[in-house]
């Protein structure tokens, strides 16, 4: 409880506790953990072919190398572990198990065929090249466009047509409504394939704790509890005997919210050889095998009236799952993510979609920051611009005519999903002022279309799904994603407070923000609160950290635990102070009288009684200890929203794009720490700018990944990122405890469409139609030339 008049820690830009050790270089990431002296190192032998049969593997040369201890192939590995099998409980899903090492068939370049175990990491690398694998090459299915064609080779025999997931939806009388529309506007959008590319590659270290006869498993992950449950299941271990620990995690972005086959192999080999085993990925492996993302086609078709109001919207969505359905989110997350989210902040009453996920001989795709939404809003917001162009109405005005208005909230969208609060129109209007939108349009019109520099402005007005509870995951069929999170608050005998949360940060500043939340809700000084997370031996079970869920789910759990423990503190304090319970409030780590007299007892004094370390006994009926565990299951989802507006200049001679102005107005409900919120938005927006302008995973027609290094996989540097004008609106959630909404993904969701629309706006002036990303100079020049040839 927050005492009346108390100036809280929530809402303040509290500087981070994490910084002091990270700035000294003392952050301990996976590869910084000092491994035991007898540790063995793994090297994975990767398939150089996209699709082939394995005729044989000869490891004799590798085994003869000094320092090599063992080589495992599918034959040995299959005796140690089950394959990873992602079960999605949703009609139209056809997942297939993935063996830990490829068994008879390889399905993408980089798939593991064998694993070398050596005394040091250099020897393991040498030995990889000495494992001779005899392949029988097969034709591969590589692209999205190719996958469902009749002639396409099947990636899995048991997946007909390479369609791993298919889902359809239509509102009642959709077709009649669509046909009754006065005009139809349609476009096909092609979103390129990208990857999350955290600067710390993945890795893990398995150590057998012989005293406890258990497995201690350090891994660079966002989902320690889900890894523990999955590892125990696949390896046939008692779950209590598996302890998963996340050290500092050097960026995740969803890339590390997946459970990976290397984790299983590392643990399995440690158990088999009874030695510590370590594996650290190099960058090439990271780009070849860590989940990829996007690679979508979204075709939208809107029936509109003459004012630009959308009467009915149809979406045809195809996403590229890659070779296997990933765990725990499966191949349907991106697909349904795009289909279910793209209606966004708009008041659309008739909607139909067909969404499919196709399997190809490429790296499996997974849940990278934004999941489905950057593509979904690239399409939806691109369509808004096209409606404007078709009708001669400014695209901002088209949005204002379709957006859900404040008086309509709470609003249930066309999919039956509730938006409790939001600021869809207000964000847009404020962003337009900050961007001097009208002024830009006037200058743009005055400049004409004949110069060497074409200028354009692009808007993305979007919702960001966040903090999904169990209902949100069940509705999408994900059975291995619980949805709740939890917190244990314990006041120690010293009076200091330990907070254990079920999250696992990768740079989000949880040690700081959860202390802000707890200190306010339990009436403690922030400096008395100590936050810990990421170790399954001490942290309570939960869904961990991805999908912008920590503030909502973890924050709610902290509030509940604070309230439960706060009641006990007040009961004991009331007894000690000999007053009624309602005469006691908690403030500054003390239980004090509400009468303003400042008479009270400190948490320490209460703790001494609770821990039986004082002459005063506990009140009758009270139990020893000062600890509370609470679990919070958020609503189906909470909905943040924001508007990004980008203004760009495109050099029509070179195709180079310069971002000249960038405005963000966002609303993530009640803000815990505005400094950290801004940081999340900055970082996400930079990733979105990268995704829009330069980032792309490129496979050749044979399924070779052509840019598995950071020279060729371009990511933005400081020189590619503009200064932002950033403004906040706070519409606290009324459905989620604490009023928090998530903010982890909005940056990338807003940036991809805003930048794409800005470039498309600039080039529309010379008749070019820009509908794909990345917006590389070569692509833009080609479209400019094609437009010139048409005119």
């Amino acid at each position: 409880m927050i005492a009346p008049g108390h100036k809280g820690n929530i809402g303040r830009p509290v500087r981070r506790r994490e910084d002091s050790y990270l700035l000294r270089g003392e952050g301990r990431f996976l590869d910084d953990i000092a491994e035991p002296k007898d540790t063995l190192f793994l090297g994975f032998v990767m398939s150089p072919h996209a699709r082939a049969e394995i005729r044989g593997i000869d490891a004799s040369e590798a085994l003869a190398l000094d320092g090599v201890v063992a080589v495992y192939t599918a034959e040995q590995m299959s005796r140690l572990t089950k394959p990873v099998h992602t079960v999605i409980d949703f009609p139209g899903y056809r997942g297939t198990p993935r063996p830990i090492l490829a068994d008879k068939v390889v399905r993408f370049v980089g798939e593991h065929v064998a694993v070398v175990v050596a005394e040091d990491a250099y020897a393991a690398q040498d030995a990889i090249d000495l494992v001779a694998v005899d392949y029988d090459l097969l034709d591969a299915t590589v692209t999205l466009e190719q996958a469902d064609q009749p002639a396409a080779p099947l990636v899995h025999d048991e997946v007909p047509g390479n369609v791993m997931f298919e889902s359809t939806f239509a509102t009642d009388s959709f077709e009649e409504t669509f046909q009754a529309g006065e005009l139809v506007v349609r476009e096909r959008f092609r979103k390129g394939r990208v990857a999350g590319v955290p600067l710390e590659p993945r890795g893990c270290l398995a150590i057998l704790d012989h005293v406890a006869d258990s497995l201690v498993f350090y891994t660079s992950t966002q989902i320690p509890h889900l890894v523990r449950t999955a590892l125990a299941d696949l390896l046939g271990l008692p779950e209590p005997k598996v302890r998963v620990v996340t050290p500092e995690v050097g960026g995740g972005f969803g890339t590390k919210a997946q459970f990976y086959t290397e984790e299983v192999a590392t643990a399995a080999i440690a158990l088999d050889l009874r030695r510590p085993v370590k594996w650290v990925q190099d960058r090439r492996e990271e780009l070849l095998t860590s989940i990829h993302a996007r690679d979508h086609i979204i075709e939208l078709e809107a029936a509109i009236d003459a004012t630009g109001r959308i009467k009915a919207l149809r979406a045809e969505i195809v996403t590229n799952a890659g070779a296997y359905s990933t765990y725990p989110f499966g191949c349907s997350l991106e697909t349904t993510g795009a289909a279910r989210m793209l209606v966004g902040p708009y008041d659309i009453r008739h909607y139909a979609y067909r969404a499919r996920s196709v399997t190809t001989n490429t790296c499996p795709s997974g849940a990278y920051r934004g999941v489905g939404q950057p593509s979904g809003f690239m399409a939806m917001e691109g369509l808004m611009d096209r409606i404007g162009r078709k009708l001669g109405i400014d695209p901002a005005e088209v949005r204002l005519r379709n957006v859900v208005k404040a008086h309509q909230l709470p609003y249930t969208n066309v999919l039956g999903v509730r938006y409790d609060t939001g600021s869809y129109e207000e964000c847009l209007r404020r962003a337009m002022v900050l961007a001097d939108y009208e002024g830009f349009r006037a200058r743009q019109a005055a400049a004409g279309d004949s110069g060497e520099i074409l200028r354009g402005i692009g808007i993305c007005n979007f919702t960001e799904v966040s903090g999904a509870g169990s209902a949100g995951w069940r509705v999408r069929g994900l059975t291995k994603v619980p949805g709740f999170d939890s917190a244990v608050v314990r006041i120690e005998p010293s009076g200091q407070i330990t907070l254990q949360v079920s999250q696992a940060a990768a740079g989000q500043g949880h040690l700081t923000t959860f202390a802000q939340v707890l200190s306010d809700y339990i009436g403690a000084r922030a400096e008395d609160v100590f936050v810990a997370e990421g170790d399954t031996a001490s942290a309570p079970y939960g869904t961990n950290t991805f999908a912008s869920r920590s503030a909502v789910a973890g924050g709610g759990a902290v509030i509940k635990a604070a309230e439960t423990l706060g009641r006990k503190i007040r009961r004991i304090a009331a007894y000690l102070l000999e007053v009624e319970l309602d005469q006691v409030e908690l403030r500054d780590s003390r239980a004090i009288l509400v009468d303003g007299s400042d008479r009270g007892v400190s948490f320490r004094e209460v703790a001494e009684v609770a821990y039986s370390m004082s002459g005063t006994p506990l009140p009758q009926g009270e139990s020893y200890g000062l600890e509370a565990l609470e679990i919070y299951d958020p609503p189906l989802a909470t909905w943040a929203n924001a508007v990004h507006i980008a203004a760009v200049a495109v050099d029509r001679r070179t195709g180079a794009v310069t971002i000249e102005d960038y405005v963000i107005v966002h609303d993530c409900g009640r803000v815990i720490n505005p400094m950290i919120v801004a940081g999340q938005i900055h970082g996400g927006t930079a990733q979105g700018i990268g995704e829009a302008l330069m980032e792309e995973i490129v496979y050749d027609p044979e399924g070779q990944l052509l840019n598995a290094n950071l020279l060729d996989y371009l990511m933005p540097t400081a020189q590619d990122i503009p200064d932002y004008k950033l403004d906040h609106i706070e519409s606290p959630s009324t459905d989620a405890l604490g009023g928090f909404k998530g903010v982890g993904e909005g940056g990338v969701i807003g940036a991809v469409p805003a930048v794409t629309n800005a470039v498309a706006d600039a080039l529309a002036r010379v008749g070019a139609n820009i509908n794909r990303t990345p917006l590389r100079p070569s692509y833009l020049l080609r479209e400019i030339d094609r437009a010139a040839a048409r005119s």
């Binding site: 830009p13 500087r15 910084d19 990270l22 700035l23 000294r24 270089g25 952050g27 990431f29 590869d31 910084d32 000092a34 003869a64 190398l65 000094d66 990491a121 250099y122 020897a123 040498d126 955290p198 600067l199 710390e200 590659p201 500092e248 995690v249 050097g250 960026g251 995740g252 972005f253 190099d282 960058r283 900050l434 990768a506 740079g507 500043g509 505005p674 400094m675 919120v677 801004a678 940081g679 900055h682 970082g683 996400g684 927006t685 930079a686 990733q687 290094n709 950071l710 020279l711 990511m715 540097t717 400081a718 020189q719 990122i721 200064d723 932002y724 004008k725 950033l726 403004d727 906040h728």
Partner: protein
């Protein structure tokens, strides 16, 4: 490479942060691995092992360099410096404080390398513009912060408010 050559080891003596370390390692041992795994200083991280991301940045004879692109054996007689050394002698303090104030780090994996780049840059450019800072920073990838707050922090450490800091309304800093 034959097996015999693969396992050959030599004594390598390196001066790191003013102290001398001798280790028996393979001639192909990378400087980054020598510092991290043979000496045990873990502030220098490894991000790509092909010289692009800048996460493994150290100083060699006072100049920033990629420790993943150098063999340890070739650097005998040279002075190596890492963030541990610069932190200990207080040279980094102003930058570290500015990074803290401006929230210029998130996961912190690239941070030691960014600090080394920034320290060298400020020594040579005491009054940089934001665009100077952005140019210098383009040597180092950061995937979390989007660079905005790093630019502000370096500007702050140079004794002025970053231009980025003044733009926008309500942006906490």
């Amino acid at each position: 490479m034959s097996e015999q050559q693969g396992r050959q080891r030599v004594d390598v003596t390196l001066s790191i942060n003013g102290k001398s370390y001798t280790r028996h390692v393979e001639p192909r041992r990378l400087l980054a691995d020598f510092i991290r795994h043979d000496v045990g200083m873990k502030a220098t991280h490894i991000g790509c092992e092909h010289g692009v991301c800048g996460v493994c940045t150290v100083r060699i004879d006072g100049r920033t360099a990629r420790s993943c692109l150098h063999f340890a054996v070739a650097l005998q007689g040279h002075e190596i410096e890492t963030v541990e050394g610069l932190s200990a002698d207080g040279r980094l303090e102003r930058l570290q404080q500015a990074f803290h104030e401006e929230h210029a780090l998130q996961c912190g994996f690239c941070t030691p390398a960014v600090l080394l780049t920034a320290e060298e840059f400020l020594a040579e450019n005491p009054s940089p513009s934001d665009s100077d800072i952005r140019a210098a920073l383009s040597n180092n990838l950061c995937r979390c912060t989007g660079y905005t707050n790093i630019v502000k922090a370096i500007a702050r450490a140079s004794g002025r408010e970053g231009e980025a800091a003044s733009s926008g309304t309500g942006d906490a800093s």
